[in-house]
């Protein structure tokens, strides 16, 4: 089994109101010096066999087209083999 991890983050130039709200909460709870907080998503996808060839390419395509919106988000994808 392969495990694919896709991280999706808003692009740096896109305002992240949720991150800003978390930043405010961290400060209110006593954490000093917080300069910025960005909130993103992580997808953990377990898939049979090894991820290579066409299936690897399709996973990348879907990470870009379904899991993220390239207009506002960047994604990174990494494959963790033999996660079991």
């Amino acid at each position: 089994m392969a495990r694919v991890v896709v991280d999706v983050m808003l692009k740096p130039e896109i305002l992240d109101p949720q991150g800003r709200a978390v930043q405010g909460a961290l400060g209110r709870l006593g954490l000093t010096g917080v300069q910025d907080v960005r909130q993103g998503k992580q997808f953990i996808i377990d898939i049979e066999g090894t991820l290579e060839g066409d299936r690897y390419d399709l996973m990348h395509k879907l990470a870009e087209e379904l899991l993220s919106n390239p207009v506002i988000e960047n994604y990174t994808m990494r494959v963790v083999e033999d996660a079991s």
């Binding site: 808003l10 130039e13 896109i14 305002l15 109101p17 949720q18 379904l66 919106n69 207009v71 506002i72």
Partner: protein, 226 residues
């Protein structure tokens, strides 16, 4: 000829019935379209209604974009079929890349529900032809993720080509860049609008009837063309 206007129902659509009612009040025939069916039933135009398709999971409109009905609508829209996306429908149009940009979480983080003043900026689209340029209208707005964003080059292009069809007046409700409430595609057949004209089509239930011209515009365009 009475134009047939399809209204799509996705799982989680809320305003499909109001949109169909607005079509009928404007003088058209409303045709129910189903997300899982790629048959557009020979409609002359399509409304993608507001709501929370697929629970807004992943991103608003991100899953609806891949519904069978959307494959047909995207193809037909590229061929000139008039399509109006309201609120969640606007989000679906952006996710489908029929319109540029994206809708993001309101900058206030609050869900905003109120009657909203708008200025109609462009009357060349098939959905705004019955307005006067610069006309100010009041229709309901209700969204949590209505902040319109695009890169500066895209925003400049939209402004330069007159593709901003409506702008918020007064306090910007959601942080939309350049107060943009709605845009159109290059051809003018596809329009996305965050506020809800379908809730302002008769005195009994709406704050005004200012939403009606969106629907009469497309009907008149279709009748004029036939």
């Amino acid at each position: 000829m009475i134009p047939r206007v399809g209204v799509v129902t996705f799982p989680g659509s809320l305003d499909d019935r109001d949109a169909a009612r607005a079509v009928r009040i404007a003088g058209g025939e409303a045709v129910a379209l189903w997300h899982g069916d790629d048959d557009l039933m020979k409609v002359d135009a399509v409304v993608l209604p507001g709501g929370f398709s697929y629970g807004d999971y992943l991103r608003c409109g991100a899953i609806a974009r891949f519904a069978p009905v959307m494959h047909s609508i995207v193809d037909a829209a590229k061929g000139g079929l008039p399509v109006l996306g309201i609120c969640n429908g606007f989000q679906i149009l952006c996710e489908s890349h029929l319109l540029p940009g994206a809708l993001t979480r309101n900058d206030s983080l609050h869900f905003i529900c109120r009657d909203q003043e708008l200025r109609i900026e462009d009357t060349s689209s098939m959905w705004t032809a019955d307005f006067e340029a610069g006309q100010e209208i009041l229709i309901p707005l209700k969204n949590g993720e209505g902040g319109y964003v695009a890169d500066e080059a895209t925003l400049d292009m939209l402004e330069g080509e007159g593709r901003v069809i409506a702008r918020y007046l007064g306090l910007n409700p959601n942080g939309s860049r350049r107060d943009i409430a709605g845009i159109r595609n290059e051809l003018g057949n596809v329009v996305g609008l965050m506020p809800h004209p379908e809730h302002a089509v008769e005195d009994l239930t709406g704050p005004t009837t200012d939403g009606l011209p969106f629907f009469t515009s497309v009907l008149n365009s279709l009748v004029g063309a036939s």
